[in-house]
């Protein structure tokens, strides 16, 4: 229904963006955009014709949300060289803030009004959720000024758990029942657009002078400081920006599942995102994108594969073995591709061509 209208919207936004970008004349956005639009069109077509059923679409949607989470964590861990173990805490803030906004507004609105103004309110809610997460990220960024590596890891883990505990104890947002009745606004189209914009924004950021400043902090903080990089600002802003996008992802997920629950955002979930960043390659956005897709699909392939083994081949394995295999594969990837699938490299598509400057 709304798909046709929203796909038109995508095209308009995309062209506006590319026009703006090409006027600045330094980015191969049209090429990336073309690929994105093509990819979108192909998936949408396959979905419409029923070749990709609802199951595939939900896996794709979840993969896209994981892409946002992974690339934004990569900004903090891979690019800025900090170490966050509480990334899902930011996603929780985004999910709860944006979910509260839409739930509250549409609780008192007729369905008609909702269908007209829904998407605008949704986009605003998602962005406000992201901003709220950014504020939290900004605060959490401060310990990074004094702490490094393992200590920072444990503090961010602690912050993530504190956010979860707080959510468990606020009855307005449901406490341990979770935030319920969130309207279903997320769909493939808007998740795709948000993912695309996130990738473009982070790519531009990483390959700007600011991004190089972040990289220099990772490589050698003292040298960066001596070279005139404002490391304080760099680190804190790295956290804030990464948190913003994690908040956006959280908001999208909440509006996809129609529920936000504290247990979704614990250490375990953060570890899954962390694994994606490492499996893809620290510092490589391309790697994070691939890993997010690959690991999400892998989980499902294992689920189906185990069923097949049992039903067709007759090996008596239960679903409980899927996660054993998943963990084993993860260890193997880390052992045999220690630098991740992509290392530090980026796909050509995501590299800003210096010659065009």
């Amino acid at each position: 229904m709304g798909n046709l209208r929203s796909s038109r919207l995508v095209t308009v936004v995309a062209f506006a963006l590319s026009a703006w970008r090409s006027r600045r004349g330094n980015l191969p956005l049209p090429r990336l955009l073309t690929v994105a639009v093509l990819l979108y069109a192909v998936i949408q077509l396959l979905s419409r014709t029923g070749i990709l059923n609802g199951y595939f679409m939900i896996i794709i949607n979840r993969s896209l949300v994981f892409v946002i989470l992974a690339v934004s964590l990569n900004l903090i861990n891979g690019i800025a060289g900090q170490f966050s173990l509480g990334h899902m805490g930011f996603a929780a803030v985004g999910a709860y803030v944006s979910g509260s906004i839409t739930t509250l507004i549409f609780m008192y609105t007729s369905e008609q009004v909702a269908s007209i103004g829904g998407n605008i309110v949704f986009v605003i809610a998602i962005i406000v959720g992201g901003l709220a997460a950014a504020v939290v990220g900004f605060l959490i960024g401060f310990p990074s000024l004094r702490l490094k590596g393992d200590y920072l890891a444990i503090v961010t883990l602690g912050f993530g758990e504190i956010i979860r505990t707080i959510l468990n104890n606020i009855s307005v947002v449901g406490g341990p029942r979770g935030l319920l009745g969130i309207p279903k606004f997320s769909n493939f189209t808007n998740i795709f657009v948000f993912t695309f914009l996130t990738i473009v924004a982070l790519r531009n950021l990483v390959q700007s002078s600011y991004g190089r400043a972040l990289l220099s902090i990772r490589e050698n903080e003292m040298a960066a400081e001596l070279a005139g990089v404002n490391t304080t600002r760099g680190k804190v802003m790295g956290f804030a920006i990464g948190a913003f996008f994690a908040g956006v992802a959280g908001g999208l997920l909440a509006h996809l599942l129609q529920i936000a629950h504290p247990t979704q955002y614990g250490f375990y979930a953060s570890a899954l995102v962390l694994i994606m960043v490492y499996a893809g390659g620290m510092g490589s956005l391309t790697g994070s994108i691939i890993a997010a897709f690959f690991l999400t699909f892998l989980t499902e392939a294992l689920r189906v594969g185990i069923d097949q083994l049992r039903d067709r081949v007759g090996i008596p394995v239960g679903t409980e073995w899927t996660m054993v295999i998943y963990a084993l594969l993860l260890i193997l990837v880390m052992l045999f591709r220690t630098d991740g699938l992509m290392g530090m490299r980026e796909a050509k598509l995501l590299v800003i061509d210096e010659r065009k400057k």
Binding site: I58, P176, T263, I290, E300, R303, R312, M323
Partner: protein, 375 residues
């Protein structure tokens, strides 16, 4: 190009596996969902056993609609996002006509809108949050909702146990114990009793002494603990160590053979509300307990019984409907009137079961029937 390849290769592999599922004689496809891995795995294991046993029994008797029943069971890992994925998988990929599951309310709440939109009837086995069935007319449940058990527990404590003061302890990270605890407090206060302590604890903790010390010092006549058996057993032990000698009361989460194994003497003289009693003379109960023991070499817990019942209720509705059509099954479900392990089940207008509760006492390490409470 490399990026495309990396995305498309697994996609194609997965697709290939998916497409290979077809063929064979006609079957009725039933979906089952439960948390088989993750921290709620213990609930999922029982749930899976209950559903599998019920399906096997129906198949021995010729299945349903003249076809054998094929159960497609999926693991939701106790996570809403996984839940949404597996409900969609069961409906879209496996082509099930009805779904039994799941346990955690948060996961049922993510799955219910999907079942509702595809018009696939769903019966949750153990999600007690009242909001679950509010999602739509295709969503049912086999268990009590929060208010009922908390209220029954409070009335029993106040009237039968003559308790005037109560202390409450529950898992703050889990909505089921929290809901029960809150309704207990409301009812107990309403009856004229006073709640002298109302203490939460974190999920997965093993040390409850900080809370219990405070509770025991308030000298309550009764301790109400709405947790699952694994926590209850430790709480009972630690409460006794701290010198509490009075009775303890709880909900159906207590029903597990492990309660007395872990709790030992500490759970003697405690009471809990449940769906049925194992010494119930009804043949259906005796049968269920005996068969479960024979099949899995263990006593069934409440979650297994509820999953078994939910499967029976669903398959019975399919039989009544005489078709695999979702709307027809839904209508048949709504007019259910069936004798199952947990009593005679009918559904009210909100698709919640109307059934009685029993109160069980732990005596000599055994579960003993005490009384029946009608809604």
């Amino acid at each position: 190009m490399k990026r495309f390849a990396s995305i498309m290769v697994p996609a194609v592999i997965v697709g290939g596996i998916f497409l290979s599922c077809s063929g064979g004689p006609p079957v009725f496809k039933l979906g089952g969902v439960g948390p088989v891995t993750g921290e709620a795995a213990t609930f999922g294991a029982s749930t899976k056993q209950g559903i599998e046993m019920a399906v096997a029994e129906w198949n021995v008797q010729g299945g349903v609609l003249g076809k054998q029943i094929r159960l497609a069971f999926a693991d939701d890992k106790g996570d809403p996002a996984e839940g949404a994925t597996v409900y969609t998988k069961l409906i879209q990929q496996d082509g099930v006509s009805a779904i039994v599951g799941t346990v955690m309310s948060k996961v049922s709440l993510a799955g219910a809108p999907i079942c509702q939109s595809y018009k696939i009837p769903m019966i949750s086995t153990a999600s007690t949050n009242p909001k679950v069935t509010d999602v739509g007319d295709y969503i049912f449940r086999a268990c009590f909702i929060d208010p009922f058990q908390g209220t029954v527990g409070a009335a029993f404590s106040y009237s039968d146990l003559q308790a005037k003061t109560a202390a409450v302890i529950f898992d703050v990270g889990n909505d089921y114990p929290k809901g029960l605890a809150e309704f207990f407090r409301t009812k107990f206060t309403e009856l004229g009793g006073s709640v002298v302590a109302f203490e939460g604890h974190a999920t997965g903790t093993t040390d409850f002494k900080a809370q219990l010390t405070k509770m025991v010092r308030a000298e309550p006549d009764v301790i109400y603990c709405s947790d699952y058996y694994n926590d209850v057993a430790l709480i009972a032990r630690q409460a006794r160590e701290l010198g509490f000698k009075g009775p303890m009361v709880g909900g159906d989460g207590w029903d597990s053979p492990e309660l007395t194994k872990i709790g030992g003497a500490a759970v003697e003289g405690t009471f809990f509300t449940n769906h049925y009693s194992k010494d119930d003379i009804r043949p259906i109960v005796k049968d269920f307990v005996a068969k479960f023991k024979a099949k899995y070499n263990a006593d069934p817990d409440a979650l297994a019984a509820l999953a078994y019942d939910a499967t029976y209720i669903m398959l019975n509705a399919v039989k009544t409907a005489g078709t695999a059509d979702g709307a027809a099954i839904k209508n048949a479900l709504a007019s259910t009137d069936l004798e199952v392990v947990s009593g005679r089940v009918k559904f009210d207008a909100n698709r919640n079961p109307v059934k009685s509760a029993v109160i069980i006492e732990i005596k000599g390490g055994e579960q003993v029937y005490r009384t029946t409470v009608y809604p």
